[in-house]
């Protein structure tokens, strides 16, 4: 059992060590994908095992329940997509003159360590270890963000590390204060940060200190999840990182930080009533949606456009969590998975577009549909998915959140109404940008000649097309048929705190 619980952490960590020793070469290029597939398999097995209750490992340091298992599935799935796309991406990067074998070795080490840290975060039984793992993701991804070593990349990496570390430091203060409140509520000192134990003693927690702690935790992990007000780092980092890393960061890292908020919410709701986190999350949700809508309208860079779209989706998740209830929480979890898949496809295809066009400006791309139909199709369908169009699963989950919102009383109705208006703005803005990029006569700002017959092939090698198609297909299938995921979603939503 310990091995099964530890596998999602151990496999990527092992792969990272192998990269450190062997370097990135044709033989090891697919190692990351193998490790990701292994973690995904372990996650699915864990989901089956934990259906009837949580499992512990390493003397109570790790604990897997349905919510953790679900998050592990998300991590595994997105990591698999990103790792499948990595060899082609790195090959194209070195062909374009960025980075050599050393950079590739570092890339292998850090991406695997990053995946392992995220898996550790969702498996940790203690809020403290969860914090350590989330902060570790910041440190491990810092060099990945600064991978290209240009002025922009260095600036993005600096801002990313400073803002995220400081934001997450607030969460550490929250952890410390919750520990303090727990000690005075009779929690055993050794297990003082175990979230299950804290939730069990929630009624005895001092409300004043707990309120401060929860506010700091939501703010701190919210910074890492890209929620307003501390979201300034997100567009910079996501637009500068290599495409597969952007996919991982946008697709799962944000959700892992959001998972931490869900765990805190369970404790807070039991100690302070649901109203407190609801207010915090509603403010964060509407703030994030407003920021995303405002900055998407006049966006000039398509990678930043995707980053702001992530902020918008994090806002939606926060809205769903604030609404609470079985329907909303199930929708939130499904949304995490759907967004992870669709957004990774988008970042991966944006990476290919960027490599081909040499620019990430929206105006530099015209008529992509005629020039590279497959790539344009993946990018367009990905955008359709994140905009919440059927048949993709994001349509189902957004409908779920909105329906739950209108059913949960006046405040939720108003908030959902406001969110819908903002979503409409986002939709119009993104659709306009997408239209400019995909349709019209083909034109790249300064790429090869206009009617280069080899262009379409060069833009998207076959191996690179596989993860894009697979991701979109999975998102579409989930939209119409959740199948075996449904019971998992139900138990996970129950753990995330279904308030009757």
């Amino acid at each position: 059992m310990t091995l099964l619980v530890g596998a999602p952490v151990l496999l990527p960590a092992l792969a990272g060590c192998l990269y450190a020793v062997l370097g990135w070469r044709p033989a090891t290029a697919w190692l990351g994908a193998v490790a990701a597939a292994g973690s995904l398999a372990a996650a699915i097995a864990l989901a089956a095992v934990t259906a009837d209750g949580p499992r512990q490992a390493l003397g109570g340091l790790l604990r897997a329940d349905s919510l953790s298992a679900f998050m592990l599935i998300v991590i595994g799935a997105v990591a698999l997509l990103a790792m499948l796309a990595s060899p082609a991406y790195l090959a194209a990067e070195s062909a374009a003159g960025h980075g050599g074998p050393r950079a590739a070795r570092r890339y292998g080490m850090f991406t695997q360590g990053f995946v392992a840290a995220m898996a550790l975060a969702v498996l940790a039984a203690s809020l403290g270890v969860l914090w350590v793992a989330v902060e570790a993701t910041t440190i491990l991804t810092a060099f990945l963000v600064g991978h290209r070593r240009t002025r922009e990349a260095t600036e993005a990496a600096w801002k990313y590390v400073v803002i995220c570390s400081v934001g997450i430091a607030l969460a550490l203060l929250g952890v410390v204060l919750l520990h303090y409140a727990g000690q005075h509520a009779g929690v055993d000192a050794g297990a003082g940060l175990d979230w299950a134990v804290l939730a069990g003693h929630a009624a005895a927690l001092d409300p004043g200190v707990t309120r401060m702690a929860v506010a700091l935790l939501v703010l701190g992990f919210g910074a890492k999840a890209g929620l307003a007000p501390m979201n300034a780092w997100l567009p910079d980092a996501h637009s500068q990182a290599p495409a597969p890393v952007s996919a991982l960061m946008s697709g799962v890292l944000l959700s892992v930080a959001f998972y931490a908020i869900l765990r805190v919410k369970v404790i807070s709701d039991a100690a302070l009533g649901a109203g407190f986190t609801r207010t915090l999350l509603l403010a964060a949700a509407l703030g994030s949606l407003a920021v995303a809508a405002a900055l998407l309208i006049a966006q000039r860079d398509y990678k930043r456009m995707l980053a702001y779209s992530s902020i918008e989706h994090m806002g939606l998740l926060a809205l769903g969590a604030a609404i609470g209830g079985r329907l909303a929480l199930m929708a939130v979890l499904l949304h995490i998975l759907g967004h992870g898949l669709a957004k990774s496809v988008l970042f991966l295809s944006a990476g290919h577009i960027n490599l081909a066009a040499g620019s990430s400006r929206i105006t530099a791309i015209r008529g992509l549909a005629r020039r590279a139909p497959l790539l344009a199709g993946a990018f367009g369908l990905g955008l359709a998915a994140v905009l919440g169009l059927p048949p993709f699963s994001l349509f189902a989950s957004e409908i779920g959140i909105v329906r739950a919102g209108f059913r949960s009383g006046a405040w939720a109705g108003w908030a959902t109404g406001a969110a819908l208006v903002l979503l409409l703005v986002v939709f119009a803005a993104v659709a306009r940008h997408a239209g400019r990029m995909l349709l019209g006569p083909p034109q790249f700002s300064d790429a090869a000649g206009p009617d280069d017959p080899a262009g379409a092939v060069r833009l998207l090698p076959r191996t690179a097309a596989l993860p894009l198609v697979a991701g979109l297909a999975a998102a579409a299938v989930l939209g119409v048929w959740t199948g075996p995921l449904r019971p998992l979603l139900e138990t996970a939503a129950t753990i995330a705190g279904v308030t009757p």
Binding site: S126, V132, H179
Partner: protein, 227 residues
């Protein structure tokens, strides 16, 4: 250790901790700022030693030695190394080693710190009320240093100053942990220390890259990315 001795030594350590944090706002010389940070690390270690002696806990005293070694020894050493790296090309050494143009001038910063101290006191009332005692009553001191750290982070323009601001925040959180509950579980404490150490290493490498890319460590130059 009797009651009044304990209270007095603890207060002395907290006073030194606070003073070192506040004086960071006053000094412009980055080397002096790093020295002040090291001094604060010593005060933090002393604070934990006092708590450990009070509780008769060898474990806590050992943790104190570790905390002191990291925050008064290793981290300042790393920062000094980042500072000593010679800037490339034309001699901007004088500019580089000083916080020449903070966004808020020094006199106003010091007065702002006074306001922050009052804010910290007001905010920490629920914490003190839960279990009044010499240690928890010193929590406002830690929170003041936290806010001062934020202030340094926002208003100072040298890369190294921002690192110091981040570390002040971290010192303050560690102090809060020890003052309220004599520290978080050891696994977490070790993880946090490792994270902080790695974060400083990462920032040090990024500072070197920033010098190479921008020709300096003035954060005002970071203007490439915007909407």
């Amino acid at each position: 250790m009797n009651d009044s001795m304990y209270a007095q030594w603890l207060a002395l350590a907290c006073g030194a901790f606070l003073l070192a944090g506040v004086l960071v706002l006053w000094r412009r010389d980055l080397a002096a700022i790093v020295r002040l940070f090291a001094l604060q690390g010593v005060a933090l270690g002393a604070m934990v030693v006092v708590l450990g002696l009070r509780q008769g806990s060898v474990h806590l005293v050992a943790v104190a030695v570790g905390v002191g070694a990291l925050r008064a020894g290793l981290l300042p050493y790393l920062m000094r190394r980042a500072l000593d790296t010679p800037p490339p090309g034309n001699g901007t050494a004088g500019e580089e080693a000083r916080e020449t143009r903070p966004l808020v001038n020094v006199a106003t910063s010091l007065l702002a710190a006074a306001v922050l101290a009052l804010v910290a006191y007001a905010v920490s009332q629920p914490i003190v009320r839960l279990s009044p005692g010499p240690a928890t009553q010193a929590v406002p001191v830690a929170l003041t240093v936290l806010l001062v750290g934020f202030f340094v982070l926002v208003t100072r323009r040298r890369a190294l100053s921002q690192v110091v601001g981040f570390l002040l925040i971290d010192n303050a959180i560690t102090a809060t942990a020890f003052l309220t509950t004599s520290g978080v579980p050891l696994v977490v404490e070790l993880g946090v220390s490792l994270d902080v150490l790695l974060a400083v290493l990462v920032l040090q490498v990024l500072t070197t890259r920033m010098r190479a890319a921008f020709g300096g460590t003035d954060l005002g130059e970071l203007r490439e990315l915007h909407d």
